[in-house]
């Protein structure tokens, strides 16, 4: 009988929607509570700890960290490698998305699966793979080495590792937008006399731009923090192939840097890097939702 009453009540509501059985408010608040506690404890609290330790004394810790031998070079190298990664994968990732969406060929599903490989493979294992293939003792690596091209323990190896890890980020960000795009618009442009390149530049690219930018920013942010894929590949030589995440991990090794090391300077450098990456991710979200609104 209670159900009948509930239905009658539901029917009387202005919006006429069926309401969940009684106690809904309690349940809603317990779900909300669980959400806040879970995210608060696991995410918010650690972030507050980083900020408090990094900037609790103003910019003293950041200055101390930046004055550490090799710090500035590490940050510069990380930014350069991340930028190169974002640009190269921006181009090839967009191309791959186009190929996957618009060209029919046997093995398309397989290619799509292979593109997701970096999502599944541990980043450290990706680094090990690169060492196996391009290491000085391997056939391929030896061939390059003989021609004076150093890959492993050199910036080129870092770049390859970052390209490996971030490729699916760009492809998966461009692909859904490309799927939504109506080929009729491009056909119209072609019929009206535009060439292929003009059609791409004037019709497709403007529609894809937010998605491509979002993919590139994600790849950039991911590259800033990458550790596993790089640590084996780069050789971690100070002022040469040491990246910021590896630098932070070294600051945390007891006694490694004497008095300049420790959690607080590490927290300062981390807070800067991570603040940058987080802002980029937020911008990305904005771009994605803008793109959705437009289509």
């Amino acid at each position: 009988m209670a159900d009948v009453v509930a239905i009658e009540q539901a029917a009387k509501r202005p919006e006429g929607r069926a309401r969940p059985p009684s106690g809904a408010a309690l349940r809603r608040w317990s779900l909300r509570g669980a959400t806040f506690v879970y995210l608060g404890l696991f995410i918010l609290l650690p972030v507050v700890a980083i900020l408090q330790h990094g900037f609790g004394d103003g910019l003293t810790n950041l200055k101390a960290a930046l004055d550490t031998f090799g710090a500035k070079a590490a940050i510069r190298l990380t930014l350069e490698m991340a930028a190169l990664t974002a640009i190269i994968n921006g181009i090839f990732g967009t191309l791959l998305a186009y190929v996957l969406v618009r060209i029919r060929f046997p093995g398309r599903d397989l290619l799509s699966t292979v593109v997701d490989l970096p999502f599944a493979v541990p980043t450290l294992v990706a680094g090990v793979m690169l060492v196996a293939l391009y290491g000085p003792s391997s056939t391929v690596g030896g061939w390059f080495e003989a021609r004076g091209i150093h890959i492993i323990f050199a910036p080129l190896g870092i770049l390859l590792a970052l390209l490996f890890v971030t490729l699916p980020l760009v492809v998966r960000s461009v692909q859904p937008v490309l799927l939504e795009l109506d080929p009729a618009e491009e056909e119209a442009a072609r019929v009206l006399g535009a060439g292929r390149w003009t059609t791409f530049r004037r019709v497709m690219f403007p529609a894809l731009r937010p998605a491509i930018a979002a993919g590139c920013l994600l790849a950039f942010a991911r590259s800033l923090g990458e550790f596993g894929a790089i640590v084996i590949v780069s050789g971690n030589r100070v002022n040469d192939t040491l990246t910021a995440p590896v630098f932070i991990s070294q600051l945390l090794q007891p006694g490694h840097y004497g008095s300049t090391g420790g959690p607080d300077p590490a927290a300062a450098v981390s807070a800067v890097l991570f603040g940058l990456a987080f802002v980029l991710v937020l911008v990305t979200e904005k771009l994605v939702s803008l793109g959705k609104e437009r289509s």
């Binding site: 069926a18 191309l95 290619l111 599944a120 294992v125 490729l167 019929v191 550790f227 981390s270």
Partner: protein, 296 residues
């Protein structure tokens, strides 16, 4: 890629024949452009992703069955795999359980500050694993906020399993939530409301309707989460103290093997993880296809 010159379809003065010829030429060029694009894409993926995968297979298997057998009979290696598995299992359970709750709240509830909560969920994607390890040091390490509390009760967090699990959970939080929220938003509430109207209880409705509807998206998120948990190295390295045979996961074992010039063992363990991740990848792709198929 060279840009083909723009080619205008000529108006009537050009005869019917000319038009057909132009069209054929254009179609040929179109095939050529597509062929070149496909070739470039395939070469890029082969060089960047497939060649290294082949490289590790060749390197690990070259060492011969004897070395492979010896590697797997090493107690350190066995313990490392066991530890990786335990951490993954606990991480998956926690991130799935709470992930579904958070997804329900984000997809269906409205409250001020919801955007902030949503941004918070994405935050681990932006944080370097090394920074995650540092966060744990700041909270539980010497002089950390919670260190006195746990130390006085004799509970070891840092350089032990709890810290390793905590950092792995932090890193894996976004996957389930990000995959389930869009599915819930697409679905709307109609089916649930129908179930309630027909007298199903809240719990019945959740298990029979909601969970059933989100299952592929959920499994996809779980697989991504598991892959991430198995592969985590930066954060775990910092909080584990890398005590061989105690807090050494499979990835940390690989790191140590390469540090100590035992590359062969490193390659073999890495290949094992790679093989496992390929199995996971097949699961990921299947779940993703099912999810898209059901969304249509």
């Amino acid at each position: 890629m060279s840009a083909p010159p723009s080619e205008r379809v000529k108006p009537s003065p050009a005869g019917e024949e000319d038009l057909t010829r132009l069209r054929n030429a254009d179609a040929r060029r179109g095939r050529l452009v597509r062929g070149v694009m496909l070739a470039v894409a395939l070469i890029y993926v082969s060089v960047l992703l497939l060649a290294p995968l082949a490289g590790i297979f060749i390197y690990a298997l070259r060492s011969g069955l004897g070395t492979i057998g010896r590697t797997f009979s090493e107690p350190d290696v066995r313990h490392a795999f066991l530890l990786t598995f335990v951490i993954m299992a606990i991480t998956v359970v926690v991130t799935t359980f709470f992930g579904v709750i958070v997804a329900l709240v984000l997809a269906r509830d409205r409250f001020p500050g919801k955007r902030l909560v949503s941004a918070l969920v994405d935050l681990p994607l932006a944080v370097s694993p090394v920074v995650v390890g540092l966060m744990a040091v700041l909270l539980f390490g010497r002089g950390g906020w919670f260190e006195p509390f746990f130390a006085s009760r004799g509970i070891q967090i840092m350089f032990a399993l709890p810290a390793m699990i905590l950092v792995t959970i932090f890193i894996s939080i976004p996957f389930v939530i990000r995959e389930v929220v869009p599915v819930l938003q697409e679905l709307g509430m109609e089916e649930e409301q129908a179930a309630w109207t027909l007298g199903a209880s809240r719990v019945q409705t959740f298990f029979r309707v909601t969970l059933r509807n989100i299952r592929w998206g959920l499994l996809y998120g779980i697989a991504l989460s598991a892959a991430r948990a198995i592969g985590e190295v930066g954060a775990v390295l910092i909080v584990s103290g890398t005590l061989t045979g105690k807090t050494e996961t499979a990835t940390l074992y690989i790191l140590r093997a390469f540090d100590q010039y035992q590359d062969q063992q490193g390659y073999i363990v890495a290949l094992t993880l790679a093989t496992f991740s390929i199995v996971l990848l097949i699961g990921i792709e299947t779940f993703k296809r099912r999810r898209t198929a059901e969304a249509d």
